[in-house]
Symmetry: C2
Subunit: 491 residues, 2 copies
Amino acid sequence: MGKNLTKRSEDYSKWYNELVIKANLAEMSGVRGCMVIKPYGFAIWEKIQAGLDKMFKETGHENAYFPLFIPKSYLSKEASHVEGFAKECAVVTHYRLKNSDDGKSIVVDEDARLEEELIVRPTSETIIWDTFRKWVQSYRDLPLLINQWANVVRWEMRTRLFLRTTEFLWQEGHTAHATRQEAVEEAELILNIYADFAEGHMAVPVIKGIKTESERFAGAEDTFCIEALMQDGKALQAGTSHFLGQNFAKAFDVKFATKEGKQEYVWATSWGVSTRLMGALIMTHSDDNGLVLPPKLAPIQVVIVPIYKGIEQLDAISKKIQPLLKELKSKDISVKFDQRDTHKPGFKFNEYELKGVPVRIAIGQRDLEQGTLEIARRDTLEKASIDMDKAVDHITELLAEIQESIYKKAESFRDQNIRSVDSYDEFKEVLEAHGGFIAAHWDGTAETEAQIKKETMATIRCIPLSGYEGKGSCMVSGKPSERRVLFAKAY
Amino acid sequence: MGKNLTKRSEDYSKWYNELVIKANLAEMSGVRGCMVIKPYGFAIWEKIQAGLDKMFKETGHENAYFPLFIPKSYLSKEASHVEGFAKECAVVTHYRLKNSDDGKSIVVDEDARLEEELIVRPTSETIIWDTFRKWVQSYRDLPLLINQWANVVRWEMRTRLFLRTTEFLWQEGHTAHATRQEAVEEAELILNIYADFAEGHMAVPVIKGIKTESERFAGAEDTFCIEALMQDGKALQAGTSHFLGQNFAKAFDVKFATKEGKQEYVWATSWGVSTRLMGALIMTHSDDNGLVLPPKLAPIQVVIVPIYKGIEQLDAISKKIQPLLKELKSKDISVKFDQRDTHKPGFKFNEYELKGVPVRIAIGQRDLEQGTLEIARRDTLEKASIDMDKAVDHITELLAEIQESIYKKAESFRDQNIRSVDSYDEFKEVLEAHGGFIAAHWDGTAETEAQIKKETMATIRCIPLSGYEGKGSCMVSGKPSERRVLFAKAY
């Protein structure tokens, strides 16, 4: 197709990197590990943001904004949190630069050293709970349902566009509740929102589950997660929702007066998804020709390419196409009429395939005469000729069909790649041969989990909330197991 | 009114700070100079963002995202830029923390020192122009019309909520063009968008002008600005749009091939508005009873307060009011029915006055019987009884009227506070007695400008784009002046 894209079967990882660059989604910047999200990639992220933001607000959450910087001492307040988070992060130590003595460059002004270092937030529990202390006095102040869209920094040694970058964009929800039950229900509510969004908007099927203790968020009592499967058989954690118990309330002394006038610590959750979702979106659907985007998140849903010789033919096509453009726009379908005369139709076809535009329409001289259009869908590459006066209905239906079809395809792939095994040997064989999720019995100990990870690189992605029930014995230790859990190699 | 708000006439600055806190807009955080934007304040900021973002996109701009960190060496590349910006900023020197030797706290790991320090962006020209070099090869790649919504950090010694904080939120536009003229037109286009938004959405009248050389953005050839007047007679710069010439293109070696095949440096603009607009919004309209918000930016446009005794009366009101709620929502009017039984109507009236909800409706037993509502407008505090079946039309009209009315009021105040003077003595008298804008002749030199600033604290806010024409002689030096310029003390 002339896109010079490495094939997935040749080198999946190389295919991914090339695709992100060539489709103009993102690129690495001059700052180690930090990416630039380019306009086309950012337009997809904006649609992800808008979709999630609406769902958060419909369930009573409000947005707010908290400081980028966290005083170093805050991180130490919740013991397990600091263990998990505080180490690899960007540290601000000074607040001024000055001219060097030779006047040729600028240097850090050693006189402007901060008394206490500031950490660029890797996540905001500590600064937010320090604030919640001022916001919560009585049961009337609860629940607090807060979300923040923000950038965060975790100093990563090995980075990949969208999947693992030193700085990334995300939303982080932080809520406070009067009772344990209400907090657990909140964590579950958000898990369901994440799953509904992944499946309904991104067309990415996910498995809902709970993390094991060793994979849990630092400071959480329970971490709920959604796990997706990429085409190379590796799992990707697409979102997490944490029940934090009273850990942060105790660390930051956040109490409330109950209706009965008693002082109690509040219960908490936190939850987040990030620009990592972009990676999941790209890897779930795209093919050797480029991106495949679900219509609900595609910045351009329909592109119209005129096929013409000379300005007169272009004018005729342009005139003919105006009512269609207008009607599509009135239905909130995002459509682009590409009348650039600097590029040939073939070039444009390639470009929109690479960029994953769900529906491509071509219109030439014969179409003008016959009142037809050529319509091509990106996911299957199928083409058809349709009547121009039925175009709007056809396009509307086709967009819905593509949305559903790519979900079904991904679901079918995912389902075919969940395999139950009963012995450790079989586990290793299946992992080596197929990857995918493996449902196996595990004795519930961190030791066995660590041994499997060390020997096979596979981790327990989650204890699924439903399915794979039934007791058995651990494939490694032979000890009793309450239910199967899902293993996979993961991004 | 029981709000315990300091009167503007007593202490304007104290009134502002109290209002921001009591109306739940923002508060200072535990991090020096950094604010927390609370949900009610953030909801207003989201409306500002949405309004501007739409205007940017309608004029062909696209959003993208660039790194938070800027390598120190980038800042030195544009000589005047580094002079103006690089000094007071947050410097990241290390990328890891570790446990202290006694295990009781965490300390900076001195082994994890960065080879080159990173600056937390105070503005992004340098990192963006380093990226643009890769994006621009030929005239076909131009113009590049990029915007970014982001947080930035400037190490401020004296901070005030929204007006001057160490970290703030903003948008920064960065564009690249093939010709000088196109870049100048872009800077002017954005100036007009800013002015239209300030006046049309925020109901804040502004004066469009050009900054003098000493007030210009570091690295710009021309800085266009909009200037607003606060109720205490001080000016507030509400937005700036810079024509950058070829300064950044030369510093970062960004050239393009023209149609004729020549290599030329591109022309640039940058432009931004920030959470400072929140300060302008609050200070322009609000009064001793609290916030006054323009309907277009009010998170809650209409609040309905039931006045009742017992659950039966509340139920009757609630039932009666449902069609009105539904119809208002269908017209995209944001309405809240406050049926909290924990607070009395008087408390609620106070609260919504403090929060600046434009229209308040009260409905009691007699209204139920007579089919009426009591409607109160926040800006004038006027009340009226209206027929319930005409309520939707009445409310729709009233919201439009309030939007216009508070603009007119602010405009009238502003116009009354622009005074022309012809001598330096008169200048000082007027400045002392009234503040406001003073239109005066100036000889065009930085020396005179500096002298006036030193002696009176007033600065040249702008050389207005229109009005105040006609030659004269400088009020200080007596030298010839081409036109009057506008002075004021400023935030």
